[in-house]
Symmetry: C2
Subunit: 154 residues, 2 copies
């Protein structure tokens, strides 16, 4: 009943943060991980998957890191989460009937289908730009600002 996996939540957190700090250049995993309170190596793997999915871009080498591959307004939560979730299962029959569709519906079909569609629609319509607008308090925001200051001071 958790709907989203931990991994997806990590991905959303990281993507939201990146959406806020798009300008100064890429952010590296160490900073992201500390700021968000996520295990470094795990986040690294997760972000790599997002690169493969075309959501993020990576820059290797010194002063490398990750940034959004497109403007935040063009990246939906669906894009971010889809690599880690089986959205198809949303359409699974509530009773597990092998045949359950609009023609031969089970008794719960109507209501259940509506919910699945609701969920998918939410993820498809909400963008990272929407999330970026919030005043979200990261677990360790100080690390982030310090890192950014550091870069400028450099």
């Amino acid at each position: 009943m958790a709907i989203l996996s931990q991994t997806s939540e990590y991905a959303l957190r990281a993507a939201t943060l990146l959406a806020r700090h798009a300008e100064p250049g890429p952010l590296d995993v160490a900073v992201l991980a500390k700021a968000l309170g996520i295990p470094r190596n795990y986040l690294s793997k997760t972000l790599s998957q997002l690169v493969r999915a075309g959501v993020l871009e990576s820059v290797r080498g010194k002063h490398g890191g990750f940034r959004l591959a497109r403007p935040a307004a063009n990246l939906t939560l669906y894009d971010v989460v889809e690599p880690f979730e089986h959205f198809a299962e949303t359409r699974r029959c509530l009773l597990g009937q092998s045949v359950c569709n609009d023609r031969q519906p089970c008794a719960a079909h109507e209501g259940w289908k509506a919910i699945g569609e609701r969920i998918v629609r939410f993820f498809r319509r909400t963008t990272l730009a929407d999330l970026a607008r919030s005043r979200t308090r990261w677990p360790n925001a100080a690390v982030l600002t310090r890192a950014l200051d550091g870069r400028v001071a450099d």
Copy 2:
């Protein structure tokens, strides 16, 4: 993203079947399991949990089995599924923020909360009587009719 666990699905299937055949008396696990295509022992455990939850009644001994504890119209899907699901997690913040409520919402709070409420409402409003109305095709319905015929013939 599976929303419901396999166990919950089993519980719903069994409860729906019982809602249809409430009259003739209790049905035993062996028949239910075969008719529904569910591992016998596992279903047994699951139904016991539903007895403890007050959803089903059990009759021990020969000619025993399980039946609904109340009229199907008074049993919601929530009742059936709640013992196996953590509905509280539905209210979890999408971004995992420790503080995210109506007063201090994260950017996704509104939309996300609406979905959680939608899900809960569906389970609370739909009853077993609703499900029983359908012409559901069980994996092995023949077993069931045979068992019921046998009882009558006896």
